[in-house]
């Protein structure tokens, strides 16, 4: 390993706030931005940061996710000492099969895997954020500060701080207190759920945590408080740039819409930090003779014969003649039949909106999720 740092992506959660979108796939495998899946972001960040070995901890509906991430070639993680390893719960010789009981437990159950690489540092990531980040720069900071744990933080508006895990720091950026969703936040530095641990320190804490009967085996609830109680050195690494939690339909829609701001804060076109994904082997996009495409983010394989305004269209989407798509995100394989109208909606993969049907509402507070076929109107 070039940096002596191994990455582990926590990708086991269902993401139940994404409702029907995650009925059949785990949240990290949910489609994003026309051609990507959410997990492409941490994986591409790892590849671009020079991390060679990435473990992906999977549990919920993991068949698609497992087969997807196992092909490490997509992210260039396939050289000789490199790889992406899918780590679902395993039955072991001296124990029965245990599901992952929490984020920390998922790591604990894979101590043998981590030890086999003898890393000095362990990077913990989650599979549900959209951002570009150089983890190597964060590791440099971790080493410079001589920390046992470095937590990436991002300043959020103070009025929203109570929605996040908040890190209270001193002037030097040392974390003195961690509060999960505080009612009266003292700081606006939100944890991004990205941790660099010095492995031997974390290993010791995990072994103790496994034995603790009252633990919920969670990084935020158990491991970080234990590190603080032990007087370990915890530092906050301030991140600047685009970062978005896509845990809800509204936030997933918003993050897609942010892509319409081309070459914006999350510059997907930056060739020095590409986000890699599966190649779709589809034709380029085709824009028909009698259409209006006004402010859209469209990927290869889409066919647009109707009107599209302020929307994101994924691989294989078809918008038929006379159809209108406004302020919406159409995931791969969606077909909007002739004369149908989709407004302020997020349409799940391979869903067909029948002829003349109307879905979504321009005035609605929340985004309409369309996860079932919508019948046409005769």
């Amino acid at each position: 390993m070039s940096q002596n740092m191994l990455a582990m992506i926590l990708a086991g959660g269902r993401g139940s706030r994404l409702k029907d979108l995650t009925n059949k796939v785990a949240k990290p495998a949910v489609s994003f931005g026309g051609k990507y899946r959410i997990v492409d972001f941490p994986l591409s960040n790892c590849a671009n940061s020079g991390i060679d070995v990435v473990g992906v901890l999977t549990q919920y509906e993991s068949v698609l996710l497992n087969s997807y991430v196992a092909a490490g070639r997509r992210w260039g993680l396939d050289s000789k000492d490199s790889g992406v390893f899918v780590l679902p719960p395993r039955e072991k010789a001296d124990e029965r099969l245990n599901v992952y009981r929490g984020t920390a437990d998922a790591i604990s159950q894979n101590i043998d895997f981590i030890d086999s690489y003898e890393p000095e540092y362990l990077l913990i990531l989650s599979g549900d954020h959209i951002y570009k980040m150089d983890y190597d720069a964060m590791l440099t900071y971790h080493k410079e500060r001589g920390a046992n744990l470095t937590v990436a933080v991002i300043p959020v508006p103070m009025k929203e701080a109570s929605r996040f895990g908040i890190m209270n720091t001193d002037e030097e950026g040392n974390i003195v207190e961690f509060e999960e969703k505080p009612a009266q936040p003292k700081s606006n530095l939100a944890s991004m759920g990205i941790y660099i641990f010095t492995w031997k320190d974390l290993r010791r804490a995990l072994v103790a945590d496994m034995r603790a009967s009252d633990s919920s085996h969670d990084f935020g609830k158990d491991i970080i408080p234990a590190f603080l109680a032990d007087g370990k050195k915890l530092v906050a690494y301030k991140f600047q740039g685009y970062w978005k939690d896509v845990g809800t339909i509204d936030s997933l829609w918003e993050a897609n819409m942010d892509l319409l701001d081309d070459r914006g804060e999350l510059n997907m076109n930056d060739t020095s930090w590409k986000i890699y994904t599966d190649d779709a082997s589809a034709l380029p996009q085709y824009i028909g003779p009698d259409t209006q495409v006004d402010h859209a983010y469209i990927t290869q394989g889409a066919v647009v014969l109707g009107d599209v305004r302020h929307s994101v269209l994924s691989t294989g989407v078809v918008v038929e003649e006379g159809a209108k798509v406004i302020d919406s995100v159409l995931l791969p394989g969606v077909r909007v039949e002739a004369g149908a109208k989709v407004t302020r909606a997020l349409v799940a993969e391979n869903i067909t909106i029948g002829k003349g049907a109307v879905v979504g509402d321009a005035g609605s507070e929340n985004i309409t999720l369309v996860a079932k076929r919508v019948k046409g109107v005769e």
């Binding site: 051609k35 081309d262 590409k274 986000i275 028909g288 469209i298």
Partner: protein, 371 residues
């Protein structure tokens, strides 16, 4: 199934595409944005379960070599398969010596070592899809010595010039091959695609060499028509031959007919190409795009009509692009008006505000040029 290996031939020296060919062989020409012409013969072979493929590289092979890479892109079995690039040295004395036969003679040992019984030879300057496994089956059951693929056209007077035509008898037996010099409308254009046994192929190559240093495979096949059972099989569907600049331009724009494009790109017959991991394309407010094929990674702020846009192209505010083929990473500056052009890769058109040609006689803007 019969054991088959594939040969993707380089285009003959008498086929010249002004401008573009200064930079790469026709095989490496960009096609409707994200493809290269060579993707078609290789994907046809790969989809026909032909996993041993020889590609003859031709002049200026850099771009083609980079594109083909390890061959992994083309879904060729990584253990029981191989995409082999062959670099014939050719002759610098006179390019009339650089025939396909001379390239095969140079690599005869490699061809002799192939352990498959049959060979399919396909061109790298023609665009079509064809199941070669079916074609070989048809070849075997017909009992023919050689099977040639052809396409019936009704515009041979003005198109497909420099291609060969097949003169067929009523039983689809090949009487002879001759160059199309535009004498008649309705012709059976030879698609430069052959099926035969490997041993016969080697024999023909050696005979051609003995006959004349200028003989091509088509010449020796035509000369053998009296002695061998040579049959034509008709091809249906999209077919284009890039034999000059105009035909390259036309082949691209023809696929703006989306029904035709769907006929060429069927879900059960993937055309593979190398990905560049470019992001989706952004259509800005105020942009207007009609009847166009657009690749990923573009930023479109202007007007685009009846055009093919390659990857990573920027079309700035007030720019107008009509009836044009814009290759990857080109930039069309603010208020620039372009019609009837092929703009080659990395070209920047900023100062020249109006470059307009009749699509019947399209213009060309050189690779990496600044205008």
């Amino acid at each position: 199934m019969a054991k088959i290996f594939g040969i993707v031939a380089s285009s003959a020296p008498f086929i010249k595409v002004e401008g573009m060919q200064d930079y790469r062989p026709i095989a490496a020409f960009s096609f409707i944005g994200r493809y290269r012409i060579v993707d078609f013969p290789i994907s046809n072979m790969s989809n026909s379960d032909i996993d041993y493929i020889q590609v003859y590289m031709g002049n200026k092979p850099r771009s083609l070599t980079e594109h083909l890479g390890s061959g992994r892109t083309f879904n060729i079995n990584s253990k029981r398969g191989k995409l082999q690039m062959l670099f014939p040295q050719g002759s610098s004395v006179n390019e009339i010596y650089n025939t396909d036969i001379s390239a095969y003679m140079e690599n005869l040992e490699i061809i002799q070592r192939m352990h498959q019984d049959y060979v399919v030879i396909a061109p790298s300057y023609m665009i079509y899809t064809q199941n070669y496994a079916d074609l070989v089956e048809e070849h075997i059951s017909s009992g023919a010595d050689i099977t040639l693929l052809y396409h019936r056209v009704d515009n041979a007077k003005e198109a497909f010039l420099n291609c060969f035509i097949l003169n067929l008898n009523r039983q689809k037996g090949v009487i002879s091959l001759e160059k199309n010099i535009g004498k008649a409308k309705n012709r059976d254009i030879f698609m430069d695609t052959y099926v035969m046994k490997k041993d016969l192929f080697i024999q023909l190559v050696q005979e051609a060499k003995k006959e004349s240093s200028m003989f091509t495979l088509a010449d020796i096949v035509s000369a053998s028509a009296a002695d061998l059972d040579i049959r034509g099989v008709a091809h249906r569907g999209y077919f284009a031959a890039v034999t000059d600049f105009k035909s390259y331009f036309d082949a691209n724009l023809a696929l703006l007919d989306h029904k035709l494009a769907e006929n060429l790109f069927r879900p059960d017959w993937t055309i593979y190409t190398r990905t560049t991991d470019s992001c989706p394309t952004t259509y800005c407010t105020g942009a207007s795009v009609k009847n166009s094929i657009v690749s990923n990674g573009c930023l479109i702020q202007g007007i685009v009509e009846n055009s093919v846009i390659g990857r990573g192209v920027t079309i700035e505010k007030g720019a107008v692009v009509r009836n044009s083929v814009i290759l990857s990473y080109a930039q069309i500056g603010p208020d620039v008006h372009i019609e009837g052009q092929v703009v080659d890769k990395w070209a920047k058109v900023i100062r020249a505000k109006e470059i307009i040609a009749d699509p019947a006689a399209p213009g060309y803007i050189r690779r990496s040029d600044n205008l």
